[in-house]
Amino acid sequence: AQTVTQSQPEMSVQEAETVTLSCTYDTSESDYYLFWYKQPPSRQMILVIRQEAYKQQNATENRFSVNFQKAAKSFSLKISDSQLGDAAMYFCAYDMETSGSRLTFGEGTQLTVNP
């Protein structure tokens, strides 16, 4: 079974600074997808960024980028130029390659952005 682990329950960052959230996972599959979802206090789940395991290039989405280390099974999220609106719970998630398969989530990291 796949597992996802986020070892940082809480992180904080100063506004305009950079922060990195960690995620590790375990799988025996060679092709899969990894995601970061953001859950602000409003509780909705918002897709931040997605990485296909078969791609060596790290995904980027504006101020958000990932460091995907397939051999180490590590998938960290870097937020550059942090903004107050980035404050949220961040979940790392794993999905198999097959359409319609379940997402497996990590425990989450609560990010605080200090003005």
Partner: protein, 117 residues
């Protein structure tokens, strides 16, 4: 941008009562999912649904739970006889089914907070 919509946003129900949570997935999506998040815990998969039948379900999804797509737009989760431990945020999600086997990301609704008294 198209959204997954869920109603109600908050549902309060007496223990033992039946509850139905409703979702309208994004219109061209064909895969539908329910997840739940107990307060302070991680998001857990309940069930996935495709082509009018359950594709996969977790060990949480026991006989008390059922899902249905009663018409062309709604996707519902029914809990037959609610228990205190069913109190949680329930998220509906949907995804496209194009480019198989390449997976498409799941888009989530805002969730329904279910409180069992």
């Amino acid at each position: 941008e198209p959204e997954v919509t869920q109603t109600p946003s908050h549902q309060v129900t007496q223990m033992g009562q039946e509850v139905i949570l409703r979702c309208v997935p994004i219109s061209n999506h064909l895969y539908f999912y329910w997840y739940r998040q107990i307060l302070g815990q991680k998001v857990e998969f309940l069930v996935s649904f495709y082509n009018n039948e359950i594709s996969e379900k977790s060990e949480i999804f026991d006989d008390q739970f059922s899902v249905e797509r009663p018409d062309g737009s709604n996707f519902t989760l029914k809990i037959r006889s609610t228990k205190l431990e069913d109190s949680a945020m329930y998220f509906c999600a949907s995804s496209e089914a194009i480019g198989n086997p390449y997976n498409q990301p799941q888009h989530f609704g805002d969730g329904t907070r279910l409180s069992i008294l």
